[in-house]
C-alpha cells in the first residue's frame, strides 16, 4: 500500500467507524440530556400495548400514509433503504463467505449469484438516489433544500457509482477484496498483490474514501434519522 491508500483506505476507515459510533452515542446522549415537555403530542386514532408496538414498527419502516400523497417518492425511498441494507449484507461476504449458500451454489454459482443480486441492488440504489437528486432540483423541493441535502446526496451517489464500477468493471477477484477486508480487521491494512497492481485499486480507494466521509458525517447530518426515527414515530402514538 502506498501512503495515500494507507491513509484513505486504512487509517480513515478506523476514524470513520469510531466517528460513527461515538457520534451516534453522542447524539443519543445529547437528546436524552434535554428535558422532555410533559405535553403529549400523539395524534389519533391511538393504539395501545401490542398494537401500539406494531403501529410503531409500521410507521417507522413502512410509513404507509405516504402512499396517499407521494407514491413515487414512497417507492424510491423504500427501495433506497432496502437496497442500503441489502448492500450492507452483501458486503459482509467480504468478511466471511456465506458458506451454506456457497456450498449449495458451488463456487461458480456463488459468483454468479453475487454478480446478479449485487448488480441489481447497485443499479436500484443508483436509480433511487438519482431520483432523489432530480427531485431536489425541482420547485418547491429546491426552495426548501439546503447545501447539506445536495452534499449528502452527492456523497451517496459517489459511493454507489464507484461501488457499481467495482462490481461491473473491476478486474479483481473477490478473494483479493476479502484479503483487504481481513487486513483491516486485523489492524494491518494492506492490499494483496493482485489488487495493488491493478488499476481497480484507485476506484476502490475512492469508493472507500467516500464511504468513510459519509459514515463520519452521518450522525451529525440530517441523516441522523437512522436513529431519530424510532423516537419521533413513537411520539406519534403517545397518549395522555
Amino acid at each position: 500500500m502506498n501512503w495515500l491508500s494507507f491513509l484513505l483506505a486504512g487509517v480513515l476507515v478506523y476514524v470513520a467507524v469510531v466517528a460513527f459510533l461515538v457520534g451516534t452515542a453522542f447524539r443519543i446522549y445529547y437528546w436524552l440530556k434535554v428535558p422532555r415537555s410533559g405535553i403529549k403530542l400523539g395524534i389519533f386514532p391511538q393504539t395501545h400495548g401490542r398494537r401500539r408496538f406494531v403501529q410503531w414498527i409500521k410507521d417507522t419502516f413502512l410509513f404507509p400514509q405516504v402512499l396517499d400523497v407521494d407514491r413515487p417518492m414512497w417507492l424510491f425511498v423504500i427501495l433506497l433503504h432496502i437496497g442500503g441494507v441489502a448492500a450492507f449484507v452483501g458486503h459482509l461476504r467480504l468478511i466471511q463467505e456465506f458458506t451454506p449458500l456457497a456450498n449449495a451454489l458451488g463456487k461458480e454459482g456463488m459468483e454468479q449469484f453475487s454478480l446478479i443480486s449485487g448488480g441489481i441492488v447497485g443499479i436500484v440504489l443508483l436509480v433511487s438516489v438519482l431520483y432523489l437528486i432530480a427531485r431536489r432540483f425541482k420547485s418547491p423541493y429546491r426552495d426548501i433544500s439546503t447545501p447539506e441535502d445536495y452534499f449528502l446526496l452527492i456523497l451517496v451517489f459517489m459511493v454507489l457509482l464507484l461501488g457499481n464500477h467495482l462490481r461491473f468493471f473491476g478486474q479483481v477477484d473477490v478473494e483479493a477484496y476479502r484479503a483487504y477486508v481481513h487486513s483491516l480487521l486485523t489492524f494491518s491494512p494492506e492490499f494483496p498483490a493482485e489488487l495493488a497492481e491493478s488499476g481497480t485499486r484507485w476506484v476502490l480507494v475512492t469508493h472507500v474514501t467516500f464511504s468513510n466521509l459519509l459514515l463520519i458525517y452521518l450522525p451529525f447530518s440530517k441523516l441522523v434519522h437512522y436513529i431519530g426515527t424510532y423516537a419521533v414515530n413513537l411520539m406519534r402514538s403517545e397518549a395522555r
Binding site: L32, S37, P45, P140, T146, P147, F220, G228
Partner: protein
C-alpha cells in the same frame, strides 16, 4: 435589531428547548412529503406555507446560533440571522398555520410542525411581534378573569333571559340554567353567545343532569397567540371555578382548541393535576344517549347530512365514532366527506384565523379543498362540533355558493329533542317567534 433584542428572541430557542423539539429539529430530512398534506400549501403553492419550510425557518435560526456545525459552516445549512426579513416570513408562515396537524399525519417521521411553530410564536412575541388582535382578545379574557365581580351582575341578568328562552323551548317553567351552583356534577364551559348555551342546556335539562354554567368562555386566545402563560391564566379561570364549585367534570363546549387546551396542555402549563375530568361536548352527548339519559324521539331526519371532523376533535382528540354515533341517532342519511376522519382536510379556519381579519382572504382561498369536499356530498346540512369550523364553513358557503346550512352537534340533538327541524338555529329572542323552516 440591537443585541439585547436579538438575545431575547434567540433566547426563546434556548430556554424553550425540549426533547421533542430537538428531535424535530434534527430529524426532518426536508423530503417535503408533507407539502400535499397542508391545505394552505396546496391552494397557494407558496413555499412559505409548506409545513417543512415553516419549520425550516426556525431550524435555520437554530443552526446558526446554537449548533457547532452551523457556527462553522452556516452556509451548509443556510443558517439564518434573526432580522426583520426573517421575522416577517416567520410571522406570515406561523400565524397562518391552523394547527390542524395534517402534515404530522403524513410525515414519515411524524413531525409535528405545530410544535415547532409554537416556538416560532414565542420568538415573535419576544420580538414584540405577537399577533395583535389575538393579544388584545387574550388580554380581554384575562381582564375578565381579574374583574369578574364587575361582569357578574350583567351576566346573571343575561342568563335570566336565556333561561326564559330555555323554558319556552322545553316547555317547562322550572327549567334552569344554574350559575355558580356549588356541588353540581358538571361545569359547562360555553362560548360567548346563547347559541352555545341553549342547545346543551336543552340536552342537560332533558337528561336531568346536575350541572352549572361557567362564568367564563372556553375559548382561549392565549393558545392561538402562542403565549403559554396567557393561555394558562385564561384556562385557569375555569379550573378555579370548577375547583371552587367542587364539580366532578368540566364539559367543554363544541370548540376544538378549548378542549385541547384543557385536556392536553393545561396540566403541563400549570404544573398541576386537574381535580376533575375533562369531557368534550361530543363525548357527553354520545354518553347520555348511549346510557339512555336522553331519548331521541323516533322519526329520523331524512335530509342528506354530512359531518366535518374538526381537526382538534378528530385527529387531535380522537372523537371519530362519538359524533357519528350521535348523528346516526338523529339522521338517517349521513354522507361522509372524502377523505374523512384522520385524513380529513382542515376547514381552513382553525388556529384563530377566523378572528384575524388580516387572514380573511387567505382563509377563504385556502378553504377551497373543504368547499370542494362539501360540494361533492351534495348535502344540504353540514354538522361540525367546532365553532371555528362552523364560522369558516359558513364563510365558504357564501364565497363558493355551496347552498348549505352549518350547525353543531348539540344543536341537531337539541332540536330533535324539542321536536324542531334539526337545522333550526338557536338564537337569542327566537323562542317567542319561531323561525319558519322549509
Amino acid at each position: 435589531m440591537n443585541k439585547a433584542e436579538l438575545k431575547a428572541v434567540t433566547g426563546v430557542l434556548d430556554k424553550g428547548m425540549n426533547r421533542q423539539l430537538l428531535y424535530y429539529l434534527d430529524v426532518c430530512t426536508r423530503c417535503s412529503i408533507c407539502k400535499d398534506a397542508c391545505h394552505q400549501y396546496v391552494s397557494t403553492g407558496d413555499v412559505l406555507f409548506l409545513p417543512a419550510y415553516r419549520a425550516e425557518l426556525i431550524r435555520r435560526v437554530y443552526k446558526k446560533y446554537f449548533t457547532r456545525s452551523g457556527l462553522f459552516l452556516p452556509s451548509l445549512y443556510e443558517g439564518r440571522e434573526v432580522d426583520d426579513r426573517l421575522l416577517d416570513e416567520l410571522y406570515r408562515s406561523t400565524y397562518a398555520c391552523t394547527g390542524c396537524r395534517r402534515c404530522m399525519y403524513y410525515c414519515p417521521f411524524s413531525i409535528d410542525t405545530t410544535w415547532l411553530l409554537g416556538v416560532a410564536k414565542a420568538m415573535l412575541i419576544a420580538a414584540g411581534r405577537g399577533a395583535q388582535i389575538l393579544t388584545e382578545l387574550a388580554g380581554a379574557a384575562i381582564a375578565k378573569g381579574e374583574n369578574i365581580d364587575l361582569f357578574k351582575d350583567i351576566m346573571l341578568d343575561l342568563n335570566k333571559e336565556t333561561e326564559k328562552e330555555l323554558q319556552s323551548l322545553v316547555n317547562d317553567p322550572t327549567a334552569a340554567i344554574p350559575i355558580e351552583k356549588e356541588g353540581a356534577d358538571i361545569l359547562y364551559a360555553a362560548l360567548a353567545g346563547v347559541h352555545s348555551i341553549l342547545p346543551p342546556a336543552v340536552i342537560f335539562h332533558k337528561a336531568g343532569l346536575n350541572w352549572t354554567l361557567s362564568l367564563f368562555e372556553s375559548s382561549n386566545y392565549g393558545y392561538f397567540l402562542g403565549d403559554a402563560e396567557k393561555g394558562r391564566i385564561i384556562a385557569k379561570r375555569i379550573v378555579d371555578e370548577a375547583t371552587r364549585l367542587k364539580v366532578k367534570e368540566v364539559v367543554i363546549s363544541e370548540c376544538g382548541h378549548a378542549y385541547r387546551v384543557m385536556q392536553y396542555l393545561y396540566e403541563t402549563w400549570a404544573n398541576e393535576k386537574l381535580p376533575f375530568r375533562v369531557t368534550a361536548m361530543v363525548e357527553i352527548i354520545a354518553r347520555l344517549i348511549r346510557e339512555g339519559h336522553v331519548e331521541i324521539p323516533s322519526g329520523k331526519e331524512r335530509k342528506l347530512v354530512t359531518y366535518h371532523d374538526p381537526c382538534q376533535v378528530g385527529r387531535n382528540a380522537g372523537f371519530y365514532d362519538e359524533p357519528r354515533y350521535v348523528l346516526s341517532q338523529v339522521a338517517s342519511n349521513l354522507r361522509e366527506l372524502t377523505p374523512n376522519r384522520e385524513k380529513n382536510w382542515c376547514c381552513g379556519g382553525g388556529g384563530g384565523l377566523v378572528a384575524q381579519p388580516e387572514f380573511d382572504e387567505f382563509r377563504i382561498k385556502t378553504g377551497e379543498r373543504k368547499a370542494e369536499q362539501i360540494k361533492q356530498t351534495r348535502a344540504g346540512l353540514v354538522v361540525s362540533p367546532c365553532e371555528n369550523c362552523r364560522l369558516q364553513i359558513a364563510a365558504l358557503n357564501e364565497k363558493y355558493d355551496l347552498d348549505i346550512k352549518v350547525t353543531g352537534l348539540s344543536d341537531v340533538v337539541a332540536n330533535q329533542l324539542i321536536g324542531r327541524d334539526i337545522a333550526t338555529s338557536f338564537e337569542a329572542g327566537q323562542a317567542e317567534e319561531p323561525e319558519s323552516e322549509d
